[in-house]
Subunit: 187 residues, 2 copies
């Protein structure tokens, strides 16, 4: 059985597709803009997005939503990470963090899967780390140059895709999902 | 005829209610949490919210959405102003604006009205001004202490409600709406 990944983000699709292959799961791209609601809860956002896709397509489908949550900024930018990145960028985040001692932050990824016959199921991936004081690295995207996961010397942007996949929130959520999917459908 | 204002924000309701009275329009409070989608377009957010209320209530109803758009921050915090206020506050905005010469900003308010028999109608109110370098004043709420409208020496937070209503985005949108409403229904 195949699973359809509803996303407008081709880079995200490729990242998840390559992980799926390791589990023998075939992921197809559904280039559909799911409705995203305003909420501080990623799971609620993902579940509503999933519903908006299932209202339109009778397919086994999943959506993914993620965000960077910074402790000293009360979770900002959280669910609005991509808008925040597009406007104030990581430079803006670093400005907000000047002279701030508590640098703790985490990335969270939530995958919601459902089909016309299966009620929605949620998978989470979280990676804890810190906001560094100066951007480092050229790989990845978004806030990768300013986020350094725990137990790593490198920021996400200093890692290759393979390295990042060992740590990343999205790969953790994806692995949990594909493991479940494989068992569920004996693929 | 009455119009129902769907909002969870009692302060906002009172502000709009008092303006309505001047036009002889009776506004009732519908304490209902409308769905807010993620979008950079306030009108799109308001129209979707309105739809979510009309799906539930067969009433003449309106919703209001507003945001602060800062020129040098590419419109940030825009539609996510209330989340941004709750997390990084106006202190965060001032940090982002240190040594920034272009201080231009505007507040935008969008009201969407509809009923089971009338297709949605949009009313806008915009007030241009600047972000000051230090917070001033104790009135109002949100980003009021750091926003000074054009042709005023005072920030919104230094004004009484009556003074603010002369300038404010929300009162402009409300007036346009109530004027139309009064004509439409001969109230």
């Amino acid at each position: 059985m195949e699973a359809y990944f509803a996303t407008r983000n081709t880079g995200k699709f490729r990242e998840v597709e390559s992980l799926a292959l390791k589990y023998g799961v075939k992921v197809k791209h559904l280039n559909f803009e799911a409705v995203e609601i305003q909420s501080e809860n990623l799971e609620q956002i993902a579940l509503t997005s999933l519903k908006s896709v299932l209202d339109k397509y009778r397919l086994p489908v999943f959506v993914e939503d993620s965000g960077l949550f910074i402790s000293s900024l009360k979770g900002f930018p959280g669910p609005y990470s991509s808008y925040t990145y597009k406007t104030i960028g990581f430079e803006g985040i670093l400005r907000l963090m000047v002279n701030v001692k508590n640098r703790k932050a985490y990335f969270l990824s939530v995958i919601a899967f459902g089909s016309p016959n299966i009620s929605p199921k949620i998978f989470r991936g979280r990676v804890d780390g810190v906001i560094v004081s100066k951007p480092r690295g050229e790989h990845g995207f978004g806030f990768d140059p300013i986020f350094k996961p725990k137990n790593s010397r490198k920021t996400f942007a200093e890692m290759s895709v393979e390295e990042k996949n060992k740590f990343s929130h999205r790969s953790k959520a994806s692995r949990a999902f594909f493991k479940w999917f494989k068992n569920m459908f004996n693929v």
